[in-house]
Amino acid sequence: MDTFIQQLINGITLGSVYALVALGYTMVYGIIGLINFAHGELVMVGALVSLSVIKLLMGAGLGLPPVLIVVLGVAAAIPVCMLLAFVMERVAYRPLRGAPRLAPLITAIGVSIVLQNIAMMIWGRSYFSFPPLLNVTTYDVGGAALTDLQVFIVLLAGLLMAGLMWIVHRTRLGLAMRATSQNLQVAGLMGIDSNRIIVAAFVIGAALAAVAGTMVSSYYGIAHYYMGFMLGLKAFTAAVLGGIGNLGGAMLGGMLLGLIEALGAGYIGDLTGGILGSNYQDVFAFFVLIGVLIVRPAGLLGNSNTERS
């Protein structure tokens, strides 16, 4: 039982990180139907920028409290990622609006390669470790270990998602976003500057990516110029699982994927009588995805009417 609780805790923490990154994919997709393959790289840049700032502040010997240092690190990473997303949209995606659907996909791959290599030039090839700034306390929950960092990550992710929901459903910007995602041209006719809305979607997604980057690197204690790729891929999978273009779907998909991975790695051996082991963890996750999509071709919460081809 304690093993099961522990796997649940593992899965939920992992899932909330996936969910946060998945939101970035799904927002952009919901509005212009583009898979922003380079979104994972924003997470990487966010992690490395905040890490650099944190190290700088620690080295400066100002005697700042650790929590403040981390907050300042994130605060520095957010505008950098937002600016990067802004430039990315302007240079690589906007000129291709109306181009064949796969053209922006290739530029996205190009952007991803460029960002990785620039990051490699700036930060070098080594893995960075996250300094043990935060004093992690471990609690005992029914025999399972739960750290305050995990609680904080889940809470912060939840808070950010709630904030995003508020923006989308309660503000004029959100109204414009929803209108644009319904129909870009008609929204334009209603006086919405669709370019501004699209930029907003990119930039908000980038801010979330910056936070997610810092979260991932502090949770796993590691950051590297290549870290964005795998994370982006998983988050993209999560977004599709939940129904891409749907904010609630991204959260649900992220959470589910985290749980599937944790429980899959934990119990796949028992389920198959020891024939398959944790090496099939990702296979398990993809089978669940394919199974879901066969039953619901637009994902769990996706609306098949808004499906694009």
Binding site: T3, G221, I222, H224, G277
Partner: protein, 421 residues
Amino acid sequence: MHSIARISTLAVLTAAALLGLSGCGKETPPPAPAAAPAAPSVTVKIGIVAPLTGPQAHIGKDMENAVKLAAADANAAKIMVDGKQLNFEVQAEDDQADPKQAPVVAQKLVDAKVNAVVGHFNSGTTIPASKLYSDAGIPQISPSATNPKYTDQGFKTAFRVVANDNQQGKVVGEYIAKELKVKNLAIIDDRTAYGQGVADVVEKAAKAAGATIVAREFTTDKSTDFKAILTKIKGKKPEAIFFGGIDTQGGPMLQQMKALGIKAQFVGADGIQSSELFKLGGDAVEGTLASFPGLPIDKMEAGKSFNDKYKAKYNQDVVLYAPQGYDAFNVFVDAMKRAGSTDAAKILEKLPSTDYKGITGPIKFDEKGDIKDGPITMFKAVGGKWEAVATIGGAAPAAAPAAAPAAAPAAAPAAKDAAKK
């Protein structure tokens, strides 16, 4: 027909473009042929291939750095062979850890007529490339490819200065079962050729020595989250966990073990025996055991100065296989000196009789090209440093005299144990 004509135009254009393009390739300034003005000198080209971009770039660059350092040292030493001073030139190539790129890169080195090659880094790239070097008669020493298949192919040009998976895994597996007296062992590997290879041998050796494998779990070389498999392992209550993989996974894994409250002894192979592990794993690394093929570096005179030199030149610590890269280069230099020639064929003649004291230990090759009776040292992480606790093997009669007494007291029974086999 219309489309055939179009295709043919395209093909002609393509061919023209390719020819033009390869023309450009030819324009690259040819290496100054041994036309030295003053002292008679001869240029010796050594190739080094490793992944210099991509996820393993930090380890690849580390190897390239070491070879460049070795070349600088050798040039400074003004080595004379056959009345001419050797002027070493290093040609570094990036194979991106991609098996498909390896032959292309290897061919580039063959075309450039290098005298010898240090590399490649991964087993997956070393094996396909080794055929080309064999066909061209260019000696190759891999500092890091541990897959036994590399030297099993019967190529006369293939050597390595690192213990293969079978050699190292056996020692570690027996150490876990006999010295640590572990009854219940859990094993994790990262599903790479290296990690899986060494983990399988450890499993076999530990089982043969009486230990029970209570869990065999897997991760990947791109993962950062190990909590799920660690949680599962925790439920099986092993006394030790062996990890076949490298430090970039090992560090976070140790931290996550600590967070989950797993107290089992963590053991790894040379993949985690690096200074990086302390950076990546923080204080969770304390007490970790890791093997390393060779003698403890601080026991070797050259080893200590190597660390300092490397740090002075590159402003960073040695990552992983730099010492092996440095040794591989010097084994070539040693062979050139003994052959009295820099010719690839002459180097090749002398390589099998190598008896060189490198910074990783004494280097001799067996008939396949594997390092012979390489001593393997177990290290323990103590206060942010690796401390040698036992040196196993290498004490066999033929081995270098420096090997046996170098180890800490705990080594004595272990060494005896190994010598019995």
